[in-house]
Symmetry: C2
Subunit: 308 residues, 2 copies
């Protein structure tokens, strides 16, 4: 199936384009971007122009930042296109719910992707946790913003989410491991005095059986980067590391099955092909709701200014 990719930036080049090239389901038939393009693929700078000129392309994937993405999604759905959304699916929970209602009314597929949920060992971690009594779960998500988000000023602006941009990846895994179990009970949001969004956050969640659930997001980590979820249950310990790519249980590294090894974005695009075939929607807003709750109930602390 032909697909158009909107927003040709770092994530599009690093992940979307290679995954589409390798996919048996998809052909990248057009790009829409003010600045970027992909060699050998028809290029548009105006989305309206694309929608009008290529009515044969019924599927679009949106890799824009969350704030501008909504208007593109509305236009795409209104013209009957199936739509895939990068994470987070929108700037606000209400706008995502509106897109979902629109997609259902139009009968098109809408897929709010959470790429970290497709990391190689997340399913195995979820299967191991299922049915066990959880005592403690600790998320440590610490990376260097200068390394991973160079020049991305939008990420510090209202709606850019700051350290929750990577942190929501952790929350997308946690809400897959423990569906519907958690709600935020307290948060600290550490924000540079010259920025709108936090550079670090500490979260505590309430769990129905009293398990101790915490998350520590920090964008000031130099050297080794940490994307780790550790859990203690009544029968042992697990560490899901490297953003979900590695799993050890009671200290023993686990092997993934071969299907899980295909990679995060190839798995997203395979799932999207299924959704388009059936015209159905997969929009789980739980990670974004937790982030909105953190902004609403979080205690703000101001810290030193951040300059890139």
């Amino acid at each position: 199936m032909d697909l158009a990719l909107v927003g040709i930036g770092k994530i599009a080049r690093d992940q979307h384009v290679p995954s589409l090239d390798a996919s048996p389901d998809w052909k990248l038939a057009a790009t829409i971007s003010r600045h970027g393009s992909v060699d050998g693929v028809e290029q548009f700078t105006s989305f309206e122009q694309f929608l009008d000129a290529r009515q044969d392309i019924r599927v679009v994937s949106l890799c824009l930042p969350p704030v501008p993405r909504f208007d593109y999604a509305v236009q795409a759905i209104a013209t009957g296109r199936h739509v895939m959304l990068e994470k987070p699916p929108g700037a606000s929970v209400a706008e995502c719910q509106k897109l979902l209602a629109m997609a259902r009314a139009q009968g098109v597929a809408l897929y709010a992707t959470w790429h970290s949920r497709e990391a190689a060992m997340v399913d195995a971690a979820r299967d191991w946790l299922a049915g066990q009594k959880l005592r403690k779960l600790t998320v440590t998500w610490q990376e260097d913003v200068r390394r991973w988000h160079p020049g991305q000023d939008w990420i510090w602006e209202p709606g850019g989410l700051g350290v929750f941009d990577p942190g929501i990846n952790a929350l997308s895994i946690v809400t897959k491991l423990l569906p519907d179990a958690l709600h935020l009970s307290a948060a600290e949001l550490i924000t540079p005095e010259n920025r709108q969004c936090p550079i670090a956050a500490k979260l505590r969640f309430a769990h129905p059986h009293g398990a101790d659930i915490r998350a520590d997001f920090d964008w000031r980590k130099e050297g080794d980067q940490i994307w780790r979820i550790e859990a203690e249950t009544d029968s042992g310990r697990m560490t899901l590391d490297a953003g979900g790519a590695q799993l050890s249980i009671n200290g023993v590294p686990q092997q993934s099955d071969s299907a899980a090894l295909s990679g995060e974005y190839p798995r997203l695009y395979a799932r999207f092909a299924e959704l388009v075939a059936s015209g159905s929607c997969d929009v789980d807003l739980a990670p974004l709701r937790h982030v909105a709750d953190a902004f609403m109930i979080g205690r703000r602390e101001i810290t030193a200014p951040f300059h890139e």
Copy 2:
């Protein structure tokens, strides 16, 4: 039916107790409060003690601030009590969803009340707007925090919502007037440098047909207080004033029908009696979702410190 009231503060004395006294459905049979009590009504200071001692009382109404309220609601639902929640229904969207899931599993009634929706002229305003093409809707909700929230330090703390504590009343009306139509597109949150929550906020909403929707919440208003929603449509103008108690259409004041005149809290308790009779839930989280979205995408401005 016997009912227990938890949290005997200003709102309980001003609204809940008189409404219960006047109700044909309810008898105030117990109070639970660390400090307050009601003459002639059995008084508990511990909720656990109440739950244990008065197993005959199957209905509780919670008038605590939102942050501590959750634990009371969980205990009440877990022991099979029907529960009514003051607004806002919780500190976070996720905790409210958890209460709703618990209530459904237990088969008890859960009612997330929005008292401003029951103001005398709100239904008439909704009926007038229905089917018209909206051009503009402006919310002005300006009051003096010193007059309405004396000594309420919790309202400035994380989860207390600041000026959104009254502002959510306006949003509860707007989401009744225009169900599912809006999502927040931008917000400014003006916050005193010595407080966690905003003292003023300006909101803009996106509307599917491009109507201009704004809200202006301010806690620094002295003199005349303003709780007003104005709308312009293709066929005229309406002003819903005094928090929903007064309506004029094209400058002509409207009369309410007699049922609407019974008062906000009497209407809430009459509705709650219906919900308890059928064991059903009425939990609309749209106003709280808009507030969470405002905290997430709002631009923060720091203003002069606030001292009471």
